[in-house]
Symmetry: C2
Subunit: 200 residues, 2 copies
């Protein structure tokens, strides 16, 4: 394969990711169709499968972008805070804001499921883990003396609990905090958890 065709493929892959990202953002994950995405990317239907394994593979590439963007927001939020608890609150706020403003992409990133037996590629799993790492530092300052492993576990749990509140609120027609008080509820959650974790 010549160098020229390789860069052409890369360009097409980028165009496909662009188109897929747009389609998911507008219509959600189920709105992503092979025929439509290839048309707006300006290629043949079959070309999709030269450049990407699957529609699932394309979703993964979009999700990778989303996670990267979310990671940047968290980075920014984490830097501005003074106290560890303030940092955790700022991170939660940023997370909620991201989920609210990029609902469909956020949803795709956290709810895309591969067919049974298939696993996410390692490089992509690592991106999710890196996301949670943003919590490790402030949480470690709040809870000194924890082993690295327990700290990592607690960071995952903290992340997951905030994520759960956002998910049930945005998703759920049933239950879940109404959208107007979502930020408040998440703040209360982080505050109570910070307090409780420190004194337990």
């Amino acid at each position: 394969m010549s160098n020229n065709t390789k860069t052409k493929r890369d360009e097409l892959r980028q165009r496909l990711i662009d188109a897929a990202e747009d389609e998911i953002a507008r219509l959600g994950m189920v709105g992503l169709k092979a025929r439509s995405v290839t048309q707006t990317a300006g290629c043949a239907l079959g070309a999709l499968y030269n450049v990407v394994t699957d529609l699932d593979g394309l979703i993964i590439l979009v999700n990778s972008r989303t996670i990267k963007r979310l990671s940047d927001k968290l980075d920014e939020a984490g830097r501005t805070a003074k106290t560890p608890e303030g940092a955790l609150k700022a991170l939660a706020t940023a997370y909620v804001q991201f989920a609210l403003s990029e609902r469909n992409l956020w949803f795709a990133a956290f709810n895309h499921r591969l067919p049974d037996g298939q696993d996410l590629p390692d490089w992509h799993q690592a991106e999710y883990l890196a996301l949670i790492t943003h919590l490790t530092h402030p949480l470690g300052a709040l809870l000194p003396g924890l082993s690295t492993e327990t700290l990592a576990l607690r960071a995952q749990t903290l992340f997951a609990s905030v994520h759960g509140v956002v998910q049930l609120s945005l998703n759920g027609q049933f239950a879940g905090a109404p959208r107007e008080v979502l930020q408040d509820e998440v703040q209360a959650l982080v505050e109570a958890l910070s307090l409780g974790l420190r004194s337990s």
Copy 2:
């Protein structure tokens, strides 16, 4: 419509729910197919649409059963505890156990999404809300003096945070507590939250 045909329809509806429940339990929500479910229920393909609006409608009926079963488990767990905090922990434990033992049905109940613009029927939304009500009593005992509305909100948030930890652990190939320590992490979460909520 004679009475006879009405009960025949009801019987068929039950058989379809049975078949759908089995199929979802074995293969997950995406494994539910109109052709297969009607075949094991012993009826024609089109009969599905006489008895139920949609495949989505069938999923809702299965989810209703699942929520009812989960509600029973929570009832049981809530009754055995002495202290409010003990009750919350027992409820969380029961929830985790249910999710672990009925993964696919649990997943369907909390991740089924109707097409854009459609809402869950009111009677079904009420079932989800009733589920969360199990937390209200012990939480109210733990946090006296809260208004009914804030108490309901806190109960939803507590529910959602536990749910989030379970979801990310079971779902996520990326991140989320590994399954062996899930119960421990959820216990730690409930403990910290109880402590933190009380003293805030």
